[in-house]
């Protein structure tokens, strides 16, 4: 068994977790909710194990490096972060109904990664041989995951606002609003750290900490949007609908930074090409 098999198993576990959460969303019986959560946790543990297996496999091939170096590996890491954060939120806030909204992301992401991106372990080209790579990717992806949570909750917020009857079981609007803020308050400093570590790395590798490469620029755009969110909230007292919309826009910008730039635009970043 190698890490590739394990990642496929994880995809199935997440898929069934999603299915159970979906059933739970409509039937609201305790068993399916618990089963969804259980599968998510098992999948998460196996995925972390598979991550380390892939790491050690790369050493066996003589090209050892942490598996964060191409699009496939970054997508996998993104799902680890998302599911990890979701499990944390569910344990802390007992917020099982959101499961169906969150688990769909890792399922789709992993399926896409395994079907459409090269999964081979590749050696690191010289520019990627830097400790900044790890710091940069980890901070960026943790922030993306935090923003994914804030986006999921924002959607729930807008839905509940529009159809209060249908979303009675969802926590109150003010609780949701606070959760959006909290995840952005975690994501924003992490994104800033991601931009800083990226700049530090660029300075070592290319001799300039900022060169307005499309990826850099889009991360800055994202940063501006969430800065606008924070300022609107604390200084204009924007709460609720407007700020939920702003946070959803922020996540569109995150998605573009992460995927859109690689798939649609060109630049320095190697994660690109499918």
């Amino acid at each position: 068994m190698n890490s590739g098999h394990l990642f496929s198993i994880v995809t199935f576990l997440y898929f069934f977790s999603f299915v159970f959460y979906l059933v739970y969303f409509f039937m609201r019986d305790r068993f399916t909710g618990k089963a969804g959560f259980f599968l998510a946790v098992v999948g998460f543990i196996l995925e972390v194990i598979a991550f380390f297996m892939r790491w050690s496999e790369s050493y066996k091939m003589g090209i050892g490096h942490i598996p964060l170096s191409n699009l496939y590996e970054s997508l996998v890491f993104f799902t680890i972060c998302t599911v990890g954060i979701y499990i944390f939120v569910e344990l802390k806030y007992k917020f099982r109904v959101a499961g169906v909204f969150v688990m769909i992301f890792p399922v789709l992401t992993l399926a896409f990664a395994q079907l459409y991106t090269p999964t081979r372990i590749e050696p690191l080209v010289p520019a990627l041989q830097s400790n900044w790579l790890t710091a940069h990717v980890v901070t960026c992806f943790l922030s993306y995951a935090a923003f994914a949570v804030s986006c999921g909750v924002s959607i729930l917020y807008l839905l509940k606002m529009k159809y209060p009857e249908k979303f009675k079981f969802v926590p109150s609007l003010s609780v949701l609003d606070n959760l959006i803020y909290k995840s952005i308050a975690i994501g924003f400093p992490l994104l800033s750290l991601g931009i800083i570590t990226g700049a530090a790395w660029a300075n070592y590798a290319w001799g300039s900490y900022w060169s307005w490469d499309p990826k850099e620029t889009w991360s800055l755009i994202t940063w501006f949007v969430y800065a606008a969110y924070l300022h609107a909230r604390f200084t204009h007292g924007w709460r609720g609908k407007k700020s939920a919309i702003l946070s959803a826009i922020g996540f569109i910008s995150v998605l573009f930074t992460y995927l859109g730039v690689n798939l649609l635009l060109s630049g320095l970043h190697s994660y690109g090409s499918l």
């Binding site: 520019a127 800055l220 204009h236 060109s266």
Partner: protein
């Protein structure tokens, strides 16, 4: 005057600038930046080209209007911080240290209860504040027979956003210094050569006040042919001082504020050793170092050319591409080019027909290393700013300012206690914490 100040200090301007910056920045990610004007002219219709050119869309991040927006953001930041400092100071040095009825009215989270006198001990209250509310920096007051406690926990975190904003200003200054007194350039140095000037992006020549010599350049490959390492061994010669250093990707060399980065490489004067045998007799007919692209006669009607040489062709090691040129009746035609490998000497013998077969020997050529050269006297300020920003974020987002009041008033045989708390940020989260603390507080008297 006041109007102008208010305009520059307004938070509406902040939001406007943040959103406009986010939107306009998109342009430069769609239109490739900094190419040659003629390349754009080919790509766009003349009308569109004119408009885009007038708006500086081809180098928008250095255009006057974009830089103005950035400058406005910093000016806005400075004015705004100066205008709001009083409010912040009020939050840090909160004067409402006594829970008077007026103060009580402004607080949402507050609870009163009473307990029998014999169960009450003042030490327990102080111990509770120290251990459960987590700080011994409370203020104690006695007014009209009431005892008041006030705790302003993490009050300095109200300055947190000042630290963040200050860091942005520092980064801005660092970037400006780098833009004015810094430069970016390139230099190619042949192995064995020494240079003392570089070519700037602006095509000006910049003299260095020391010399740099390339002793050796080297590439290493992974087994699959992916490049693994580019390495230049250089020597800095500065008057009597001399030292050698390696430059690799991600490991630049810094000397006298100037940094040299491994950026590219190339070869010149390439010669490869080609051996030619007679296919039948296996006799060696030819063995020489020859330059690329130069036809070499083998017999009256046959010449060959080495079209290309690669140090590592698709993971199979050194390889050369050869074409045979035949002269027949005043016309000449090329046969299909073929490849020979140094590590597989019999490859050509086995995979091709013809009068001759070829073997590849050593290659003999000089590398030159391409170094990017930059000077950025502002870069350390930028890193300082980033460091301060990180601290500022930690303070604003994780050390949240919370306030607690406790009022104790003794009656005949019972004690009336009021517990109150407030928090400007994260209200919902604080509400939970408040009720937990309240429960714990009540418990200490039972």
């Amino acid at each position: 005057m006041k109007k102008i100040v208010n305009f520059f200090a307004s938070l509406k301007l902040t939001l406007f600038l943040l959103i406009v910056l986010a939107l306009t920045s998109i342009i430069g990610t769609i239109i490739p930046q900094g190419l040659n004007k003629s390349q754009y002219a080919q790509h766009f219709s003349p009308f569109v080209f004119k408009i885009f050119n007038a708006l500086n869309f081809f180098d928008m991040y250095h255009s006057w209007w974009f830089l103005t927006l950035l400058a406005l953001l910093i000016i806005n930041l400075i004015f705004c911080s100066l205008k709001h400092y009083k409010v912040t100071i009020k939050r840090v040095y909160d004067k409402n240290i006594i829970l008077t009825p007026q103060v009580e009215k402004t607080i949402i989270l507050k609870n009163s209860f009473s307990i029998p006198k014999k169960k009450f001990e003042l030490e327990k209250v102080e111990k509770f504040i120290k251990e459960k509310l987590g700080s011994d920096k409370f203020i104690k007051n006695e007014v009209n027979g009431e005892i008041h406690y006030f705790l302003n926990k993490f009050r300095y975190s109200n300055f947190g956003y000042y630290i963040v904003h200050l860091s942005l200003i520092i980064i801005g200054i660092g970037a400006i210094i780098g833009g004015i007194w810094g430069f970016k350039g390139m230099v190619n140095i042949m192995e064995g050569d020494t240079v003392d000037k570089i070519m700037l992006r602006s095509m000006k020549v910049y003299p260095l006040d020391f010399k740099i010599k390339c002793i050796d350049f080297d590439i290493k490959f992974y087994p699959d042919g992916t490049p693994k390492e580019y390495k230049s061994l250089v020597e800095i010669i500065d008057g009597d001082k001399k030292f050698q250093k390696e430059i690799k990707v991600n490991h630049p060399l810094r000397y006298k504020g100037i940094t040299f980065y491994q950026a590219s490489y190339g070869t010149v004067g390439q010669e490869v050793e080609i051996k030619v045998y007679n296919r039948i007799s296996k006799k060696l007919l030819f063995d020489k170092f020859i330059p690329l692209k130069m036809p070499i006669p083998l017999d009256n009607s046959t010449k060959f050319v080495v079209l290309n040489y690669s140090d590592n062709f698709q993971g199979f090691g050194p390889a050369a591409q050869i074409a045979i040129v035949k002269n027949n009746m005043h016309t000449h035609f090329n046969t299909k080019p073929f490849i020979i490998f140094k590590n597989f000497p019999d490859f050509d013998l086995k995979h091709r027909d013809g009068k001759y077969y070829f073997q590849l020997g050593n290659a003999n050529f000089k590398y030159y290393t391409g170094l990017q050269v930059t000077k950025d006297p502002g870069v350390n300020l930028v890193w300082l700013g980033c460091f301060i920003m990180t601290i500022g974020f930690f303070i604003t987002f994780f050390l949240i300012n919370k306030k607690y009041w406790i009022r104790i008033k003794e009656d005949k045989n019972k004690v009336n206690i009021t517990f109150a708390g407030s928090c400007r940020k994260n209200r919902i989260g604080f509400e939970k914490e408040y009720y937990n603390k309240l429960e714990e507080f009540k418990k200490i008297f039972s």
